[in-house]
């Protein structure tokens, strides 16, 4: 077989030969030389088109299901839209209403902020402490790691939300245990002061996934650092303060951002535990739950879109602030 010498592409000749071998039927009627150049041209066109063919499903999804809808929801956030009649432009009215004329909205912001800023630090603290306890060369680490991961696996499910509703109810598991030591508990879920606390406990309970990440990072810390510290007689707290924690700070930041974003969007537990109301007295009215109520129960799609965009901006701002603050406490090797 003749190899096409016209090509600029160094790898092309060998390519072409192999290609016609693997697809013997193609261009068989033509003269060997022209067959070579022709299939080369086809080949080059295919090579150029290939990336976009591979990307086609994602590209379609990106345009039709992600980016397009994003723009549309930005537009809808400036409208009054009930699905039943066409959207009506109202300018910034939805945003104004959120902050000036909708106390329930502000309540949902308050509830979500407490949930996020109480549960995430606690969750990360547990994750770090347990990860360090597990990272001492003990046997059976994979089993322990799995046990501590289980709550993360199931924590977001309706099943666990149902369990929580029983556990923290008037005659639920928690009060049964308290009764054993002579304490008479209240309905933790039925009382506005404690209902949010039960959901915070639920989120802290799922510390397994950041813990697994901490564990992986702890193993990356070079042993010689600890050996040097041992020679110098550094205390356990000193080792944590000056070696473990600084080495872990990039992962702490990573886990923190991930968990903050996740917690801001929590929905299922609040919905199931409060029966979709966010009660009692709006004490579990998570942001996304209120958004759902406005958008899909009240059909205020414009308002719901404005809420969603406010959420996006807050998430972006919190992530940005986190990165900005990180230069003061996160330790990077390079």
């Amino acid at each position: 077989m003749t190899l096409p010498q016209t090509s600029n592409d160094v790898s092309a000749p060998a390519d072409t030969r192999g290609r016609s071998e693997s697809r013997p039927g193609r261009g068989a009627a033509q003269a060997p030389r022209s067959r070579g150049t022709r299939s080369l041209r086809r080949r080059m066109m295919l090579d150029r088109a290939a990336p976009y063919l591979f990307l086609a499903p994602w590209l379609i999804g990106f345009v039709v299901i992600t980016f397009g809808p994003m723009l549309v929801s930005l537009y809808l956030s400036f409208t009054d839209y009930s699905l039943l009649s066409p959207p009506e432009w109202v300018g910034l009215e939805n945003y104004e209403r959120m902050f000036t004329a909708d106390p329930k909205y502000l309540e949902s912001v308050r509830v979500t902020a407490i949930y996020v800023f109480v549960s995430v630090p606690l969750q990360l603290a547990f994750a770090l402490i347990v990860a360090m306890a597990l990272n001492r060369g003990i046997k059976g680490l994979p089993i322990y790691r799995s046990i501590y991961y289980i709550p993360s696996l199931i924590g977001g499910s309706v099943a666990i939300a149902i369990l929580w509703r029983q556990m923290f109810g008037q005659s639920g598991l928690i009060n049964q245990v308290l009764a054993l030591v002579g304490i008479e508990g209240q309905s933790w879920i039925g009382h506005p002061d404690t209902a949010l606390g039960t959901l915070i406990v639920l989120n802290v309970w799922t510390f397994g996934s950041p813990m697994v990440i901490f564990l992986a990072a702890l193993r990356q810390i070079p042993v010689y650092l600890y050996e040097a510290a041992a020679v110098d007689g550094v205390t356990a707290w000193g080792r944590f303060r000056h070696i473990t924690f600084p080495m872990l700070t990039p992962i702490v930041l990573f886990n923190m951002i991930l968990q903050l974003i996740g917690a801001m969007q929590a929905f299922t537990p609040a919905y199931v535990v409060s029966g979709g109301t966010g009660g009692p007295a709006n004490s579990t009215l998570f942001y996304t739950l209120y958004l759902y109520q406005r958008g899909f129960t009240g059909l205020e799609m414009g308002y719901a879109s404005a809420m969603a965009w406010a959420l996006l901006l807050v998430i972006a701002a919190i992530t940005g602030i986190n990165f900005w603050l990180s230069k003061y406490w996160v330790h990077y090797d390079d």
Binding site: P51, G61, I154, T319
Partner: protein, 288 residues
């Protein structure tokens, strides 16, 4: 760190310390899992007993809850489980195909818009779902897809879960480039390289994707709630929730029984794919 200090005393001390460490770790683990174990135990108890017994082991063992629960309220749980299985299985298939195709292009092919598109893909990872939910709903409603499984499945075939693309890109970048070059010399085109060389070597990342897609889809409550209002199409989480609504607080036994069953497949996948799961979380920070 203290063991290498001096001889037998140190060894003995570390042995008791080790035993103590195991004891504490197991104890705390048990405390954490106690509610779940108690729910499993309680699913075999009489409803009255659920509210009076803290113990994990049911006595007597009652299987009545499972029979009553399985029948559900109106539509049985067999329908819900079937629906959930269909949705989860198709979501897994969709994510595996579409995400691996896109990941291969980003990781192994060179094209002009690569950096821009890759950046766009990364930007969507952290996008809250709520920002797109309203227009998506309008779109799917216009396509007449409400009250079908399509809104839950079709996006997966369009690689909307960009987290998994990122996971696979990271993995594929670690594979030696010589593989592609050798295959090209042997005359393989990009599709053959993808299918015969890259994909088989990406199996760990594919497994992580499959497991997480399954867990997320199986647990998902928000999306099915928005799109499915016909009880015959309910997935398990919707079924559980409507069971809770319709029976009120009266039948905790059957409710616990169905809640336990709904967690079964999660544990199954977890145990089967533990290796991939923990490595996947460790490399990308996915949440279960």
């Amino acid at each position: 760190m203290t063991t290498n200090m001096t001889g037998i005393v140190g060894a003995k001390k570390s042995k008791t310390r080790k035993a103590l460490a195991h004891f504490l770790i197991i104890g705390f683990g048990m405390l954490m899992l106690y509610p779940v174990l108690w729910m499993i135990g309680s699913s075999f108890k009489d409803t009255a007993q659920i509210f009076s017994e803290v113990s994990l082991i049911p006595n007597p063992v009652v299987t009545d809850n499972y029979e009553r629960g399985w029948e559900g309220a109106g539509i049985g749980f067999s329908t819900y489980f079937l629906n959930s299985t269909i949705v989860a299985a198709l979501a897994v298939i969709g994510n595996l195909i579409a995400c691996s195709l896109a990941a291969y292009a980003f990781a192994r092919l060179d094209f002009r818009l690569r950096r821009v598109l890759f950046g766009a893909m990364l930007a969507t990872i952290m996008l809250p779902y709520h920002v797109v939910i309203v227009p998506q709903y309008i779109l799917f409603a216009q396509l007449d897809w409400v009250n079908t499984f399509l809104p839950l499945i079709a996006p997966k075939f369009l690689a909307v879960d960009s987290f998994f693309i990122f996971l696979m890109v990271q993995f594929m970048r670690g594979l030696p480039v010589e593989l592609d070059q050798a295959a090209r010399v042997d005359g393989a085109g990009p599709f053959q390289i993808y299918w015969r060389i890259i994909l088989p070597l990406t199996i760990p990342a594919l497994a992580t994707t499959a497991i997480f897609t399954f867990i997320w889809t199986w647990n998902d409550f928000f999306t099915p709630m928005i799109y499915l209002s016909d009880p015959r199409l309910y997935t398990v989480p919707l079924g559980l929730n409507s069971f809770l609504d319709s029976t009120g607080e009266s039948s905790w036994g059957p409710m616990f029984a169905m809640a336990v069953l709904s967690l079964g497949p999660l544990f199954g996948f977890f145990l089967a794919g533990q290796k991939y799961l923990t490595s996947g979380i460790a490399t990308t920070g996915l949440k279960g």
